[in-house]
Symmetry: C2
Subunit: 209 residues, 2 copies
């Protein structure tokens, strides 16, 4: 497997965590978003959307982190990143989607560039990003209170933790005060000693600053 | 099943299509986003995130359209909204996620309100929404060219069509010229004569203007 990755991309970070949790080996190809390497003809031939991550497997290119994670779960079911009961699976997927649809897409590089284009300064950009993070984390904290037991859902890492840890990392970059969400911080603490999460961390990637 | 819906919400529209494709009966409860009915204590007790859709089933409340659609697929597998082969499933999910993560979240009511808050006028809001739609549709058009055969993926409606049709409806509201994406328009034409899509259309909902 070849993972097209960028150290600071939250969606690539998610995918690295999931690959590590599944115990899968992969080759990493770095795509520097700051030099617009994701918009070169070479990369667009791999992923026409010009985004990371992309995962080359079995002669195909998989895109969109949620599709990659669901594929990993179906192709390599052990260890499972989703619970067994259907309603529980729906809960984990909803928590992941809350981050993947309602927080992260509003705070990525291209959108923050557009926010700056509307005249926002750095404080305005931080307020934009921080506002969406706070709205999402307020709801997620309640969901973890209900279903978490060491991790976001239950006592083992699941798909939602692949999303949560990168989102917490991103929130720190926007100077968000995370103290209102102690349950999310407790999950982050668990991840800090878990090898799959440690190895996936942006600072551990060879393309990091 | 009780679906908490709003006629113009793209995510609720998706869910109505999927319920109809599965041939499932449901009771509809309308949540008027314009009067902020989604932020009342009564609704927040149902969905702490204060968003539609929410689907009450078997004593549980499911949130986030992608989680609801995946649950429907697992609980009511026939007719299938995902293909059988794992790589094909990943392709359909990627196309759906392109809309669900990279287009729709940037154009919903709360985000457009924030864009207005940064000083954008109506033309600026249309340009904001239209830009994300165009970037996503450019990539999606190539994916449909590759895998579509009457519908977005293959010859039958799949999960991605549940996302595409509401996104095309939304694009028209933002006065986006859709002529650059003939393959997406061909799928829309197919949906216009399909009972599940017809019944799910915003204009057919009792809470429509």
């Amino acid at each position: 497997m070849i993972l097209h990755s960028y150290w600071r991309s939250g969606a690539a970070y998610r995918t690295r965590i999931a690959l590590n949790l599944k115990g899968l080996e992969y080759e990493r190809r770095d795509v520097d978003l700051r030099t617009r390497a994701h918009k070169t003809p070479e990369y667009l031939a791999i992923n026409p959307q010009g985004m990371v991550p992309a995962l080359e497997v079995e002669g195909a290119v998989l895109t969109q982190s949620v599709a990659i994670l669901e594929w990993l779960e179906e192709a390599y079911p052990d260890p499972a990143l989703l619970p067994t009961a259907l309603l529980d699976r729906a809960r984990v997927r909803a928590m992941a989607a809350l981050i993947g649809s309602d927080i992260h897409p509003l705070n990525n590089l291209r959108v923050l560039g557009a926010v700056r284009g509307l005249g926002a300064d750095q404080a305005g950009v931080d307020a934009w990003a921080g506002g969406w993070i706070a709205a999402g984390f307020d709801a997620l904290e309640q969901m973890v209170a209900r279903d978490g037991a060491g991790w976001s859902f239950g006592a083992n890492p699941t798909m939602v933790d692949c999303y949560l840890i990168p989102q917490l990392y991103s929130a720190r970059r926007f100077n968000v005060d995370l103290s209102p969400w102690p349950r999310l911080l407790a999950v982050e603490q668990a991840a800090e000693t878990h090898p799959a999460f440690i190895a996936a961390h942006p600072d551990k990637q060879p393309d990091a600053d």
